[in-house]
Amino acid sequence: MPRNPDIQSVLIIGSGPIVIGQACEFDYSGSQAARSLREEGIEVSLINSNPATIMTDPVMADHIYLLPLTVESLEQILKERPIDAVLPTMGGQTALNLCKEADEAGLWEEYDVKIIGVDIDAIEKTENREEFRQLMLDIGVPVAPSRIANSFLEGKEAAEEIGFPLVIRPSYTLGGSGGAFVHKKEDFDALLTRGLNASPTHEVLVEKAVIGWKEYELELLRDHNDNVAIICTIENFDPMGIHTGDSITVAPAMTLSDTAYQKMRNAAILMMRSIGNFAGGCNVQFSMDPDTEDLIAIEINPRVSRSSALASKATGYPIARIAAKMAIGYNLDELQNQITLSTSAYFEPTLDYVIVKIPKWNFEKFQGANRELGLQMKSVGEVMAIGRSFNEALQKACQSLEIGRSGLESPKPTRDLDALMHKLEHPSWDRLFAVREALAMGVPVKSVQKATRIDRWFLLQIQHLVKLEAEVKRYTLPLIPAELFRELKQNGFSDVQIANLLGNGVTEAEVRARRKSFGLNRVWKMVDTCAAEFEAQTPYFYSTYDQENESIRSEKPKVVVLGSGPNRIGQGIEFDYSCVHGLLAAREAGFEAIMVNCNPETVSTDFNMADKLYFEPVFWEHLLDIIEHEQPEGVIVQLGGQTALKLSKQLQEHSIRIFGTSYENMDLAEDRGRFSDLLKALDIPYPKYGVSETAEEAIEIAREVGYPVLVRPSYVLGGQGMRIVINEEELESAVIDLLKSLPGNRVLIDHFLDRAEEAEVDCIFDGDETHLLAVMEHIEPAGIHSGDSHSVLPSFSLSESALKQIEVYTERLARALDIRGLMNVQFAIKNDKVYVIEANPRASRTVPFIAKAYGVPYVNIATKVMLGTHKLKDFVIEKKLEGYAIKEPVFSFNKFPEVSKALGPEMKSTGEAIRFIRHLRDPYFRRLSREKSMYLSR
């Protein structure tokens, strides 16, 4: 069936602020859907309250509504604009729930809007645990024995019947909220209560636990003709018991025979066909008994999911893009494979590489959180790596995580076997590393398997790494045989990692030089959906050590844009927004734009965004090899957050040009000591401070600068480890803690401006002229991390004099640091005196918010200034805002019920929303404002 001509105008619902369990993968799917529909000539409207997204950018949709995701907002849009259909499958559970709510309220019917891409009954069938179970039984797909409970008493009865261990799964929740494994009867009551409370319908499923079974996910697409294709099969490295969002996952499935796989494929197709007749994407999860290969269905999600984003990046098959086309009527066989552009979209991608996804956790931000992994998702981001073997992909994924590992290695391996075995049995963020340590210590594969239930195949691969480590340690660098070197590199060992193994002061540079002397160079292979069977047109590459290189260098001048790596608290989707705009701007300025990033959830790793995408760790060795191969004019480090910025030193050392502000000046802004000297020289007030390396020094400094003081390490993200202390006793313990967790770091002691107001500025400087994007005034006082504060734009209460000081200081700093491009400056204002707290010489978290609030493409402008192709005077900047825009932080505390919700200098929010108000009498603002005065009087 070709495109439905009745659909001319579509509304896409976004997923709102980032929370744990629903992150920027929906920005990727929403953006893809919008583009896919627009190229069909459809007018696309989009609603999302999240200003940091690419999807809410004018380049993506025709009409953007930055409104709260409520039925009222939907109605407002429908009143304003004729909408033929709503596509709710691109915005995760949030969008589906909103669509359903609107449906129940009769909104779609009233405005004659067709729901496309999903069938409301299908959602009902899949989310209501009891209906799902019954449906599976009807079609003959086994499920785990279970019972539904709507009350505490029913839950108790169910547990009695099913026995322990069991699982509690609340109905209609996100990211496994409220779900739990219950091993012992004693724990049941509390967890049952929590589960019932987590479900909006006060309903849980009590299910027999199949702990230790293997876990798989299939990504499916179906069209109106009922043609189904399996786009990707994902195997969980971690067996049943850990939420798939918290599991290390591998594609394609590594340990499935064809017999076992086809059984799963048949069941998945049967399941998808049983849940209504809609066209779109779908995700099915299975569990398999490793001994008998018996299958049970875990769940089915009839929408684009987190795994769809991963599957799209893993295979090169753009699921959301194709799902959107099907939603408007196309069948799969009428569409083209987006990568080969010569074959059909109806096919099943096949891989000639392995991908490994590892989640990224931020437990250090949630002091007191239960760090054990289970049914409820706790990670805040993820990395994906591609290699020509599992080991290569695994080690590249470790290099991508930015947790101070240069591969699958442990800087300080424990000698405590009991502690290690405990880690294997009680999985947390570091279980993968514990597996390697245990094997290195000589624990047999069998015992590791018994403790972890991880499939033996994966453990054998890791054991191979351990054997290679032992082998390389027998040599000194000059004596490593070429063949061993090659094997090390093919198994993903980084040069630093090899240097670490060799010890004796061997450096990365020496290992690199030796490697090159053997002619062991990285090559890049293409991700092409078809294992090279057909010629592909897609510039999507990953590196490996093999014979042939497929990434051909063009003669065009090039810019490399460094991505921001995995999402984490303090560095999330906002930086992806900036990277994508950086790419687009660089292309407009006549450059070939090359992206380097490893985060599968993002739009920047969509192969349509850059001229060339290297899906690689944002890790020095990989980057240097890309740069040596591509020979770009320079590198943009300002857009990818701290991840990109911290590579600038090495770029500088290798004489690689950094576009924009120079390394020396960025370093000056980052180095607290030298920065304060600069402020002093510029006659800009700043809180008194000192730098210490011991607790004794810290106490002395604190006496000098005066309590309360702010204690923090230098060079960290999102205020990590930052604390405000009021006396010597607190100070001592804070400093000792810091030095323990970040050894070798220097501790900064600042006088804390108590009860001061806080404001921040983003600006662009082009060498001649400064442009202030905005002055944002925080509702919360200084002392609460800016990322956790409500900020209001423009400022609503600062005096003329304060605003003038802010402007003057910003300009003075921009000139002194010779900024080219963006800078963010944070201020504290007390008694109308403005102090500079810090300056960040890069795109900040707030840039997308300002761009959305004012409707100005600031990153585009800043990138062109960085590249030197344009000056500020080349742009007409027109700020369009009536009233005020407020950035509202959003938290994921419900995932960590045991953690204190108190805010402080360390950032804890996971996302943000934007809210527009016409005037300060707005009730929303008045409530915030009352809270502010409360804070200030405390």
Binding site: T255, S257, D258, T259, R265, L460, E471, P481, E533, E548
Partner: protein, 373 residues
Amino acid sequence: MSPFFIFKNMSFLEKVPAVLLLEDGTVFHGFSAGKIGTAVGELCFNTGVTGYQEIFTDPSYKGQLMVTAHVHIGNYGVKQAENESGKVQINGLICRNFQLIGSRTLADEQLQDFLVNESLVAITNVDTRALVRHLRTHGAMNGVISSEVVAINKLQVILKEAPSMEGLELSSQVSTQSVYELGDSSNRKVAVIDYGVKRSILDCLVQADLHLRVFPHNTSASQIQEWGAVGVLLSNGPGDPAAMPNHVANLKELLSLNIPVMGICLGHQLMALAQGLTTIKMHHGHRGINHPVKNLETGLCEITSQNHGFTIEADSISRNPHAIVTHVNLNDATIEGLRYLETPFFSVQYHPEASPGPHDSRYLFNQFANLLA
């Protein structure tokens, strides 16, 4: 030649260097897996992620050097019950990462042991993607792999002696020599002509409640008529259909009986030849488990398992006004299925029995059963 041992005293692969030489002179280096030795054959690649065991034992691959695009081979060992024939049929294996130890509770043995017992020569650590790209660009060609002779000039001599696949008849080498029966004898009788039949085709027919008698490749129509078959299945098999004129002559006779006939792969090609169409060698064939096929009669699509290096020449369709294209490949528009008007004959180029591959097309066995008296 001194083997390079990385892991002395460990159960790891002892790294014996091995070489792959292509007809056009291209050389790839790697290490030995399977048996130490030398093997020649036509190179073909398979892009499937699962199903290496089924592929290696599929008689249609007789005499070929198999390049597996999936980077890990051997992950789940070998299970006897999943063999497609009594032995390994390929001549050699070329892969990226050969796994000495796989993981599957239900497996009977490791792939390495299986291959050594079956005397199969394999080479691992090859840039298989580069090789697939090479074959995609330059087309199918012969090659030689060796873990005992590494001197290129000697391999060139060996390679010269290898016959070209074009014009090669191979069914006689893989077909059963004597008839045998399967299925409940009270069911309807179907004759299977074994040009190199896969076990799972027989399984699918038995599951469709048919009584099978499997005949050798050169069986005459009268022998089948004598047995009283109500239908005939022309199986898959290796080699060039154009090199089988006697088989085609037999088939012409068989078709004159006008009982339902279903052809699969080589069987499809032979039936087409018997109906006056022609076959041609493809540039590099279809081998994988993800090929999209559209059924033109129902409008529905199926993901199919494919393994063929020859195909029906599209222009030759016009020579037989009775030939109707029922299935077409969505990637390259090649003919995937035919039926012949006013006859109960139909055939498909792909493998509805799958194994390995999706089961989307198994409906064809029921379609066949429904035609039977």
